[in-house]
Symmetry: C2
């Protein structure tokens, strides 16, 4: 076990649970600035690479030709909570492509944001594929297909023309081949490719700086970072870590969570990319670990208000059903 | 790190996440038959000890005087999903005590069983404390207070007379002092006391055999095991591990999950108690690890149908939103 302690969960003044994991911090050349744990071992990036998957949508000019807004581009990069603005934005993207919800191949699930799920239930309706947290990513691929005059049907399959384009963008961003040998199937039926944690970090260092990217990718990345910073609610939603962090920091920090405890971030001002994987797949640990790491890595850049936000996100109080404090989730070593 | 690999989560033929933890198997004298990881280190048992907390309700004769049924006793031992039968049974327990939902001090939360939550939402109502997964345990303490002519108000506080009685039962069952020094606050506002994992296992070895228990506890434990075996749905609910396991095995296996990855079990025929804690608090790992352990420990006792159930629970297929198989959660070493 190379993994290090990332986060701990306390109760009654004791550590109740402990999360291990790995952290890679790299620059945009791929140099590992900090490597904790087995940073060359492959991980499935899951939803963390949605912004890289959106590069062709912008780079090809499709987003401009279809008139996609910042909110729509941000949703293409999102794992959203299925709140009403998310669902409406996904619908508008499909409309821009001349399509409807029937075209989505992600499957339906209840909104992850509890109040949104209750609202759907109280309407007597069930959820649709628009509520799927990945509906914006899927709508983005459908827009890409529409702009190229391609039939979107089967766009989740590795052999489909738009899937090949986005996979190629992942390969260019991370400098790692994406083939059937490192392929897994994601929750939304798109492929996800296991790559070294350090390569994932490098992809986001490049996403932040635009260096060691093609010029097309560099300008597309700048456009996407701007869109996400303008519409951080679209990337996740109410009460969510990614939204809270980017609503405060704007373009100074890009971050994105993925299932099974993967987190990525870009710190453009420092030229750094970050990728974290918790060994056990716990997202609560990846969040506090990222906040603590950002607090430290960007230290010279942060105002006291910045520090307060990061400190709060690195040390989250747990309350019970009566609102009584029972413990906390905090980055390891902060006790 | 003393912890050992308990379970792994796979995707695309690779291990995506790995869960560590500890396992204690003891007999009813407290002898450790198998100890993997730091079995003497304290853990918060959380909901795993609900059946031990129900001992005074039966032993004092309160359950009989109030006419509590098997379903009601099983609910006193439960972390239920908030399904309609759970809610109705909790209501009946409160009625038997001459009380109503207003007396519950557990707080309200949405049913954990998704369809039950949707039904509550579509009725336009919110959840009540009856939907709290712990409502049966709380109703049991209220019944105990009612039978003794005590005001139930404040029954969750360590100083309340019924709380002292159930804490004393925990101390006798586990042979470990329960004081403010090892106390934490649980999600339902009851105290939870950190005790060695091996002591937790011993408590359930005794719960299974009735030996090294007071005679009052021994007969109460037999009554509770019978109630739970008769009404396994009440202990958890639709699709839940505890319910599935006990619905098949009846009185041959008692098991109970707790938050943050704690699982206990009793194998009365072998005279063994089991306690498992996942380091990271993941319940998915504790479940598959317990099933694999039961498969092995009870091997001479199991029919091929028994083995099939345990094998299925030790190796659970993961499907995505389109129902496509993406990987599995399985006990470590089963790959």
């Amino acid at each position: 076990m190379d993994d290090i302690a990332l986060a701990e969960v306390t109760r009654g003044g004791r550590v109740e649970s402990l999360h291990l994991g790995r952290i890679a911090v790299t620059d945009d050349t791929g140099r590992v600035i900090r490597g904790l744990g087995a940073v060359e071992a492959p991980v499935f990036p899951r939803s963390t690479v949605k912004a890289l998957l959106a590069l062709p949508l912008v780079e090809t000019g499709a987003a401009d030709r279809l008139g996609l807004t910042d909110a729509e581009l941000a949703l293409a990069c999102a794992s959203h909570g299925g709140e009403i603005p998310h669902v409406r934005t996904a619908s508008r993207m499909l409309a821009a492509a001349g399509q409807s919800v029937a075209c989505l191949e992600c499957g339906a699930h209840w909104p992850s944001f509890e109040a949104a799920a209750r609202a759907v239930a109280s309407d007597g309706a069930g959820p649709t594929a628009l509520h799927n947290n990945c509906s914006g990513k899927h709508a983005g691929l459908i827009c890409l297909a529409a702009d190229q005059g391609l039939d979107p049907k089967g766009y989740v399959d590795p052999a489909h023309a738009v899937q090949r384009q986005v996979t190629s963008a992942l390969e260019m961003a991370t400098s790692v081949p994406h083939t059937e040998r490192n392929r897994g199937l994601d929750g939304c039926s798109m492929p996800t490719y296991a790559i070294p944690l350090s390569a994932l970090a490098t992809g986001f260092a490049r996403f932040g700086t635009g260096r060691n990217f093609s010029s097309g990718h560099a300008s597309a990345a700048a456009r996407l970072r701007s869109a996400v910073a303008s519409e951080p609610f679209m990337v996740a939603g109410s009460g969510r870590f990614d939204t809270t962090l980017m609503a405060h920091f704007g373009q100074r920090i890009f971050c994105k969570m993925g299932a099974e405890g993967v987190m990525v971030a870009a710190l453009p001002e420092c030229g750094l990319g970050i990728a974290i994987k918790t060994s056990d797949g716990a997202n609560r640990a990846a969040e506090v670990a990222l906040a603590a790491l950002l607090l430290e890595l960007g230290a010279p850049l942060w105002s006291s208000a910045d520090q307060e936000v990061l400190h709060g996100l690195s040390c989250q109080v747990l309350k019970n059903w009566n609102g009584r404090e029972v413990g906390m989730v905090r980055a390891a070593g902060k006790g």
